[in-house]
Amino acid sequence: MSVAIDIKYAARLLFKKPAFTALTVLIVAVGLGLTLYTYSLLNNLVFKPLVLNGSQPIIALEAQFDYNHLSRRAADPYHLFRANNELDMLDNFGIYEDYTALIGGTNSTSRKKAKMYNTTFTSWNIFEFTGVQPILGRGFKEQDLDTGAEPVVVLSHSVWQDYFDGDKGVVDTMVPVDSVMTRIIGVMPAGFAFPVSAEIWLPLTRSEITPTEQSRVSLFAYGYLKPNVSLSQFQQALDDLSADIIADLPQDLAWRIGSNGKYLAAMPFKEAGIMQYYPIFIAMFVVTFLILVLACINVANLLLARVNERHKEIAIRVALGVPRKRLILQMLWESVFICSVGGFLAILLAVWGLDITNSVFDSTYAISNSKPFWWQVYIDSHSLLVLSIAVISMILITGFIPAWRAIAGDFNAVLRDGTRGSLSKKAAAASQILVISEILLSCMVLIMATIILSTSYAASEADYGVETENRLTASLQLPQVNYSVRFDTEHEQADRFKRTEFYYQLKSALEQRPNIEAVAFMTQFPGTGGGTSHFEIEGRAAKVYSENPYSNNEVVGKDSWQAVGMKIVDGRNFDYRDAIPDVRSIIINESIARDFFPDNDAVGKRVRLAGPSGEGDWNTIIGVVSDTFHGTTMDSSSASYNSYHLMDAFGLSRVGIALHFIGDEKNVREALLDAVDTIDGNVGVYHLQSYDSMIKQPMLLVSAVSKVFLLCGVIAMFLAASGIYAVASNSILQRTQEIGVRRALGSSDGKIMRLFMKHASKQLFVGLVIGIGCAIGLAQYMSETMVINMNSYFISVLCVPLMIIAIVMFATYIPTRKVVKMEPSDALHHD
């Protein structure tokens, strides 16, 4: 019964002040909503282990992450097998490689055009490993790897639906895969795309599955740890094994060693796929957690302010003999109501945010179709558990502390004369801590949000040194069967030129079309790619390779600059003289020429690659091309120093193509597909998109995350401004009597204002120093994979503290002024 009375009373109090109730519920909803959203996002993407077969988490086994290129590195399958066999710590194990393959083509019986799909070449045990079996046909058998065995392919549900229209008789039919007639043996269930975003699966060859010696082949591995083996134990064992492998590694394979001197690495499978985003995700989690703490402080402060308003009522209750427990419980009911309603609204907010995020993921990977299959974010039981814990903690923090504070006071003194004397020492310290915490947390959150936002904005507005308007880009892939290179034979050179010949034939055919101005080939066009290697200038070798200058290296076709708005500024362009095998010509960009050849004498000088495994061949600089930027300006792997090699003798199996066109882009797309089809219908054309879209592609995820940071920033600003004002003004109101005493003793208004402003300045100093320090620490952590724009540092470290100073000074000035303006007699008897 008494509980019912208490609930009724709490409800009456909340309804009596609807604005207060709405504000506190909103703060709770926003704080919890953001936390729930971020936790669900990171839990789905990173924290929750990838489990497909029972409860065992899948781990990834590969080479150390390449921080220079921000990419995963595959390892020699021979070394992966040694790790599996010699360490005996894995329960099950398989290897794979992600690639793309062309389904259909000239040999196809289907009338459909050939289409490129994400392909995983894998161990035959992949479906047994995951515990997921085909819905039609069968998975791989060991016999499928035998020499002379018929080539087989397993289709994903999406390819079955998309290319084969869901034909149930598709199993056992033949289809060209990269021009090789291949038997379809199975169709996997919807949603299955292990290891990452596979659309079709092909078996690796037996020599790759069971290698007998070290090679240049590079593959990734998946596995389960044996029971009682921890990931750290496995990594320790891998480090020891890697040391042995490195000791025996021949010089021509020394490139396998990571920049940290290590080689093999094991990590949770999901984490391996997002290494480049890991710091930014962690930063997001920290920022969100700080916002939750900020929200807690704000709500606790609002309730604390109410307790101050109700101190007389509480004193009366105590005087009437309310048990301490009952009083605390009675005061907790308000928090229970506020936090529960806030928690419910938080679920709605989080669901809304996650829906938007799923759409962003879909659009981010729409062109490459390479979204990891587990990147579907939703609220699961874990998230709800976290929400429940957060709600309960919030109830305790926001309700228990003010309740305790209320009953800890001298109720007799309150009842006797209705005054509280000046703020007690403990209460004053608590108020100070509240204000400093608000300043500190707001400072951290706002600096982080400003840095990320400003950096991503700068990246989106960056000048990549190319013309992107009326440019269509795509990737070309030559089928292995018709364009294989017979390495280390007399045919190698001819095979390589055959590949190049295709590209030039295509260029020539396209440039004859009236709506196509120029065609360029480049391994990665400016704005994409990135990654750097060191190079040595002849006669100026550094003592250690890593002290040499570095640049990004790209391979280009002849006459490619004009199509993307680049131009030769010194020396000459690539021509027939550079297409001769063993002639090593290189074109550098203006930045390299300016910074390393200040006497304007770059042309004619020689440079060569220099790395841990030794040096490459000498290349003669024949020209200097205008500056471009490879990779986004946000990635730490991006480069403004760029070197270009002619593609002719390389014989690339894949290359990027850019077309400068006039008129309608749709016609150009058709023209490209038509031209490729005419020359060789088995060549794959994929990732067709405008140049602008291609540049935006690698930034889509970061830009989506930055929008979350923007939201965090706006929320933090709202919480900070309202919170700092509320905390500061509450703390000043509690000192009303003190102000009255000071004025009674003869202090002038100005002196009191100065006293309070000085006090606020001290709090500001402490809060800002700690807040800025922590924010810079967090930003440093993010800068492992992200280049933080210097302007954003400047803007955030200058503007955010200035804004907080303004808020705190305003929040101190207004309430102090209000109290100072009271007659001293009123201030002394302020209740």
Binding site: R743, L745, S825
Partner: protein, 242 residues
């Protein structure tokens, strides 16, 4: 009552009125108050709750302003002063003793006493410390100088408040129910202290409920419904006069 014409007038209230406007209702807290206090006088103001005695003391202490009327304090026309001038006069001419002590909890005893002196520009630090020491000696609290108010009993806190009130040698000490929050023993001690101050020449004006405390003053004023209804010498003063 006829004031002693030979004594210098310290306070003069002429036709003082104080009205409060609450919920559009005008309440007359004080009405036509005429009062003179001479230097060295010890007077008590008594009356039932809500009669206006605390409001009168607030006006006397320049803690509040009258709605109309004239107020002269130590030669200053207090009715026409601005906020800062009033603060200066409070600091120099008036010493306050409050019922709730009103010590600042995060200042030590010595710092509390020093506080009003820090608002004066004509007193240096050494002088301030000398005044603090002498005030503490007068209330016998030297041994507690470095303690915080929370470490003191109610009686001790009020003695510190008395020390603070006299530290700047004010022209008048205004005491608002100085024994209201104290037990009889401590109340007695504080009243003895006020007696002592008066004997040393201080002018004291005390608001009190307690008839015994009121009787210790030499002049007793009774307020009822915002008006002075009685102004007479106390029995003690009459006995001394006789």
């Amino acid at each position: 009552m006829e004031n002693d014409k030979n004594k210098k007038q310290l306070v003069e209230l002429i036709d003082i009125k104080k009205m409060f406007l609450t919920d559009e209702v005008e309440t007359h807290a004080l009405n036509d108050i005429n009062l003179q206090i001479a230097q060295g006088e010890y007077l008590s103001i008594t009356g039932p709750s809500g009669c206006g005695k605390s409001t009168l003391l607030s006006l006397l202490g320049l803690l509040d302003t009258a709605s109309s009327g004239q107020y002269q304090l130590a030669g200053h026309d207090a009715s026409s002063l601005d906020r800062d001038e009033r603060a200066k006069i409070r600091n120099k001419e008036i010493g306050f003793i409050f019922q709730a002590f009103n010590l600042i909890s995060d200042l030590t005893v010595a710092e509390n006493i020093e506080l009003p002196l820090t608002y004066r520009e004509d007193i240096n630090k050494a002088q301030r410390q000398a005044f603090v020491k002498s005030s503490l000696e007068r209330v016998d609290m030297v041994h507690r100088a470095s303690h915080y108010p929370s470490q003191l009993s109610g009686g001790q806190q009020q003695r510190v408040a008395v020390a603070r009130a006299i530290a700047g040698s004010p022209s008048i000490i205004l005491a608002d129910e100085p024994t209201g929050n104290l037990d009889s023993k401590n109340a007695q001690m504080v009243m003895n202290l006020l007696d002592q101050l008066h004997q040393d020449g201080a002018t004291i004006c005390m608001v009190t409920h307690d008839p015994r405390s009121a009787a210790r003053a030499e002049r007793m004023i009774e307020v009822f419904d915002g008006k002075i209804v009685a102004d007479q010498l106390s029995n003690r003063a009459q006995a001394i006069a006789v």
